[in-house]
Subunit: 135 residues, 4 copies
């Protein structure tokens, strides 16, 4: 298992490309936050689907690293997302991940996505990650 501080260090050094900020890790779960600016919008003044999928994907990755330790080559094998409500164009997107199963080779988890500070879920994702055999 890896702590929030260890994962934050790893992300800072090995994954500076992501704009997701780790808020919480542990107990088969993680919460990440992604700031939203004009560059993250699509026509209609709403958040681009790709940004929300990125948040879901990273929330899963962080929750898994929290559970199995820093295994960088853990990779997404599938992701399914349903968009439920129009997110705010000015609030951060928050992704709350809960892992459903941590197997030897595959991990499955779900992610609830919110516009920060608003109760109704804006999207819901379920994803699968593959853990490399020799770790």
């Amino acid at each position: 298992m890896a702590s929030k501080a260890e994962i934050a260090d790893f992300v800072r050094q090995q994954f500076p490309q992501t704009r997701c900020i780790i808020e919480q890790v542990g107990k088969l779960s993680a919460t990440v936050k992604h700031p939203i600016g004009p560059e993250d919008l699509r026509p209609g003044g709403t958040v681009r689907g790709g940004i929300m999928m990125e948040v879901a994907d990273v929330a899963l990755y962080i929750a898994i690293l929290g559970e199995i330790g820093i295994v960088p080559l853990t990779v997404t094998t599938s992701l399914n997302i349903n968009f439920l409500r129009k997110p705010s164009a000015t609030r951060s997107i928050v992704g709350v991940c809960q892992l459903l199963k941590v197997g030897r080779a595959l991990v499955v988890g779900e992610v609830a996505l919110y516009s920060e500070g608003i109760e109704d879920m804006v999207a819901h994702a379920v994803g699968t990650y593959s853990i490399p055999p020799q770790r």
Copy 2:
């Protein structure tokens, strides 16, 4: 219906946030290309899942605009993606969309994703878009 030039104009003016370039539109299909640089990678030196999902999402959007005309508020309702092979860290990601059904309210299509110039598919997505009622 909208031509490639009309859609490219619309994207330039209303959706400058996307880095996807339109290659082809028409006959229930579209091809888009997304350049890949260091900022698009994740640990392991492969392309971030979020970037590939963005390409799938935009390829669907472009194919739909090609079919129904410029209806900006056509929005993704769901997307499912399977990652098949590790994409190249230096080649553009190409998304080839084929629409499977264009209904009154919902459109469904699939997208094959490639590293440019390499034959094997790196990911495969299926997505659904909702068309607003009064257009």
Copy 3:
């Protein structure tokens, strides 16, 4: 909205093909149970995927009827399921549905599937239903 008794009546008369039994309906949720016998198994002595998908699909349908009333032509538009653990070959499959969004035209919900009496989830599904326009 429709009560459990009204939906059970409707299912008895209009949907006798299903072997799902309604256990609970209401508050954006439903629980259904499907008995498992030798005819429901696949090689390896586990429950056929098709049976678990049927339970997920019917649990969603019942939860939606509970919310919007008896609208028989409410139909599935998509379903995504992840299989997590091997279900018991002799226990009923229980599907617990929670709706995530009830829109004007689309409803999205998730379903947790269990072998009756065993705590760990055996599968998790997310599905979308379309509500016909004139009801």
Copy 4:
């Protein structure tokens, strides 16, 4: 690899529960057919979702056995299906599977579903199977 006759023998002996009939196997593909009778319908006189998901699931299984040989414990890990058009209430459902990737541990394929003899696809599925490690 296994031939159509070998797989048909295996299905007859080990998987008599399925009503799917194998039509073709080979070259990363398979076609199966499922007869439709009144017991397979749902309210609205259309085919139950569970039946179409069963056909997709079995078509994938048969295509995989054709590729990797008779490995009975190859099991579904996920399935995503989109329903496109109302299937005929009286025609068989035909599932045409094409595998997209056959990996060491995971196989991904897509399935086009039809009402027999009608050109337009009624549903489209993508599924993932896990191959057991020691085979």
